[in-house]
Symmetry: C2
Subunit: 428 residues, 2 copies
């Protein structure tokens, strides 16, 4: 479970950013410490990163991380410790926590994530039971896992302004369900219980564009703190708010955004002597799971999409129609695992990085979305916890490279804090 | 850096205790969570444990741990994370910390501990510099370490009620010097700075007997919580307050304590069918470093000591005369590393176990003090962080055995919190 390949000694602007980050580690940690005093971190989060060799940036910040099973076992003590520190904020004297997973209980990988998460949370001194939003779960239901253990998922029981299970009245409710299908009535108005994350973090309400606007704010501060060009860790983006791919409405907005962003990228590439071809990613502004995503190098490509392209772009998880779209500067990946394109995924609990793994996709190229069929996960060793930078060492060593990855990921988690503050009135 | 040997499947009463601890892990973690709300953990601590096969107990709780260099590198992220969580309590917006090491700056092992500690603390976002109580340090002095790095130790500068270095006015002062030689004037009356640990934690004031009295209280609560015989994790002890080994005064008190404790141990051994020979350890009530320690099986052995024995018992670190003595039930060790007697040493920062190693002594037997010439240290892997118990697994697996070790060590750290509260008026 070593970091499989990490030989990329970067040159050019990113070498300078990595050097600045390593040399300023103490300053950066203090900066985060002060920021976290003003902004409550998400209970947990995961960030998909791209390192193009000249740019390291988050491309997706997940507030319902579903891959704890992909962290290597040696990372677990870090996750337990972070959860212990986090839980005190919400449930200092609590005895019990209700965990609400996704409904797709036939996915064994996902169930292993739930089991892992339940194990971590139990180690904070909480009884942790699983309640399902799935109407098909009408009685306690057992699911067998490959390691021989059994997960029991129970029907939710609403009692006045409290939510629990039969005979189980928890202090806090932790969602591992991203609410893509909307906010269920059973979760509304839970006045006397802590609900984590808050309802407006769910994809029924959340927008990637709000997140990246918050990330702009965070990066502006951070870049000034250590003296770097914010672009080197932040992708340009634009938004189109009323698209209908089936009815071909909103194409002009898409085209306009591509026309605006591509030249800005090109100008930055020229500034840094980068000879790659600029591209943008067009994706749903809400939702996840790598559906509804296209990679575009010119404005013409988003006009007159054929039926297959329109179908692909128009629907995300839970069959939801896409009407809002984010157009984001594409960041290709130079990371390879076993010859295949890879991107680091960094897991956090509260303000702490608790581990990382690589998402590897043997079917996709370095400029494509890797969160797609063909993806698998490569667990990483403890160096990938990114807690032990050493400015005397080469920035390309695992503990240094993953320190940088951890810093960028924490910037994204901090952006999620800003975002959730700024959208707090939006849950309805 | 795997756990070298851990095959001891315990039987009898300790098997039952381990089983109870593993089965009650969630309850235990909640119990600790509640206790730590009422009692501030020591900033850091280390605990020497003994596992005799029928008893697991702390035999020494160090509030100035000096072996961070003996933790394996894979433990470091845990230490960094715990320090980040801890430092917020004391110096939420601080920029700098003064670390005061021991004076014996010629000990390369100790200097590596200081370097390691400095590295961990820097990762919390603090500038960490070293100031010495040693009057020989009159200018910044560099010490080269085996890895090629350099430690700079500077003379202290007192300025009114603040302590620092030239051009360095820290928010907090962390002692890694146990004050065996007394409380220096320069540390008194630091009204506006945080001093960790407090002065009365130093051996100039601290007494092991106060610690073990507090441990009695902690164990009484804990044993009731999970339903075990407190004796199985707690050694009997007595105290003699005015001994002079040179003048042979106080021998009767020693003898009386041995006469009282040995039969109590024998009764417990009979209760559990243990056929070992009971013994007690006689050691200085203040001080450390494994000096002034003897192992005794009958009251006669402490009467009429010869000159060599009296010399050995009468002096501890810094040449201090021993006048108070603790007589503690001996707990032999069944742990072996490479055939030699070994005992686990568990490191904590704040309320978190951050790692463990074995103290191994090829020159000593299972009933003797191992903290003596011939000792070396065996770093352990991440399982020895004791954060991931699994009641489905054998209690003798590393992650389960070290969970138990971590629980007992945290009981000792909690006892240190009680102790420091109870002795808070003693610093003078």
């Amino acid at each position: 479970m070593q970091v499989p390949h990490l030989k990329t000694a970067l040159v050019g602007p990113m070498a300078e950013v990595e050097r600045r980050i390593l040399d300023n580690a103490t300053r950066i940690e203090r900066w985060f410490r002060l920021e976290w005093q003003e902004h409550t971190p998400p209970f947990y989060s995961s960030v998909d990163l791209r390192n193009s060799g000249f740019k390291i940036a988050p491309v997706d910040t997940n507030l319902y991380p579903g891959g704890f099973n992909n962290l290597s076992r040696e990372m677990l003590p870090l996750a337990v410790q972070a959860a212990q520190a986090a839980i005190e904020k919400y449930c200092a004297d609590a005895r019990s926590l209700l965990l609400i997973p996704e409904n797709h209980t036939r996915n064994l990988f996902y169930l292993q994530n739930v089991a892992r998460l339940q194990g971590i949370l139990r180690q904070t001194g909480l009884e942790v039971r699983l309640g399902s939003l799935n109407p098909e779960i009408t009685a306690p239901t057992d699911f067998s896992l490959p390691d021989g253990s059994v997960l029991t998922v129970e029907p939710l029981v609403r009692n006045g302004d409290r939510l629990g299970l039969a005979g189980f009245d928890p202090c806090a409710i932790l969602l591992n369900n991203d609410l893509s299908a909307g906010i269920p009535a059973v979760l509304r108005g839970l006045g006397s219980q802590v609900l984590l994350p808050p309802l407006h973090a769910g994809w029924a309400v959340r927008r990637k564009s709000n997140h990246f606007r918050a990330y702009d704010q965070v990066v502006a501060k951070f870049a000034a703190e250590i003296g770097i060009d914010p672009w080197l860790i932040n992708p340009y983006f634009g938004v189109c708010g009323s698209i209908n791919f089936h009815e071909r409405t909103g194409e002009e907005c898409l085209k306009g955004n591509v026309e605006s962003i591509i030249p800005r990228i090109r100008a930055k590439y020229a500034e840094y002597g980068i000879t790659e071809e600029p591209f943008v990613i067009v994706k749903a502004d809400a939702g996840t799971y790598g559906m509804g995503i296209m990679s575009v190098t010119s404005p013409e490509e988003v006009v007159g999409l054929n039926r297959k392209q329109r179908n692909k772009m128009s629907v995300v998880k839970e069959g939801l129609e896409v009407s809002e779209v984010i157009i984001q500067e594409g960041v290709h990946t130079i990371e390879k695992v076993g010859g295949a394109s890879a991107e680091p995924v960094v897991y956090m609990i509260d303000r702490f990085v608790v581990g990382s793994f690589y998402r590897v996709n043997t079917l996709r190229s370095a400029t494509e979305n890797l969160n797609a069929p063909g993806a698998h996960f490569e667990p990483l060793g403890i160096d990938a916890a990114g807690a032990t930078p050493d400015p005397e060492d080469d920035p390309a060593t695992a503990h240094n490279r993953f320190y940088t990855y951890g810093v960028i990921s924490r910037l994204a988690a901090l952006a999620a804090s800003y975002e959730l503050e700024q959208t707090a009135s939006a849950a309805g």
